[in-house]
């Protein structure tokens, strides 16, 4: 299955991208994806934490991803 990954804030600088597509096995969880992202974009390790949103809602690590999901990497927010 194929998902889109969006980068925001510092993660656009760390990865050099605003978005990318990932081919994933079925049964991939949010936690699995985080490991794959860090493996592919090693500078993401420098970020001590980031959250994941799936289809514009914050997601927990155990969520199973499905085809066509839009996944956003959410570094610590600083609005306001």
């Amino acid at each position: 299955m194929k998902i889109q990954v969006l980068f925001f804030g510092i993660t656009t600088d760390l990865t050099g991208k605003n978005s990318t597509f990932f081919e994933l096995d079925s049964n991939t969880t949010v936690w699995d994806l985080k490991q794959q992202l860090i493996a592919k974009f090693s500078k993401l390790q420098h970020l001590h934490e980031f959250a994941i949103a799936v289809n514009e809602e914050y997601a927990t690590d155990d969520l199973n991803l499905i085809d066509s999901d839009v996944v956003a990497i959410i570094p610590p927010v600083s609005g306001g």
Partner: protein
């Protein structure tokens, strides 16, 4: 919802607009919070700030905050407006306005809204200094 006004905009935020949205004959008090760009952070001089957001999700999260505020506190209306793009010293990144029959609820809801916004809404600011720039809160 008709009792909430949520905006993310590249335009200059307007205090009177937020006031006018929440004002109502049933209300005795309106609490407002205006965020402004400070000239220093950790003793370094800031030249400008650049705000960017994951806008559709940010709007959803701001709407959730407004809905929660209406549920948790006895308030009448709430406006949450956030600017994106480049802001200079003294410019306004955020305005929150809350009206209620009695003032305590308005204060509580206003403070709840700005505190929660700073924790959950996917908006990021990059501070620019004479000698560089940094993503706030990111600690890379």
């Amino acid at each position: 919802m008709e009792n909430t006004s949520i905006q993310i905009t590249t335009k200059t935020l307007n205090l009177q607009d937020c006031y006018n949205f929440v004002q109502d004959a049933s209300c005795g008090g309106i609490a407002l919070f205006v965020g402004t760009v400070r000239n220093t952070t950790k003793n370094k001089e800031v030249t400008l700030l650049d705000f960017s957001g994951y806008e559709p999700m940010a709007v959803k999260e701001m709407q959730k905050i407004a809905n929660q505020a209406l549920e948790k506190f006895s308030i009448h209306k709430i406006a949450i407006h956030h600017a994106v793009g480049e802001l200079k010293i003294g410019d306004i990144p955020v305005i929150i306005a809350v009206s209620s029959a009695h003032r305590k609820a308005a204060f509580e809801a206003c403070e709840f809204a700005i505190n929660t916004l700073k924790e959950t809404v996917p908006i990021w600011k990059k501070e620019h200094f004479e000698d560089g720039e940094v993503w706030v809160n990111a600690h890379p």
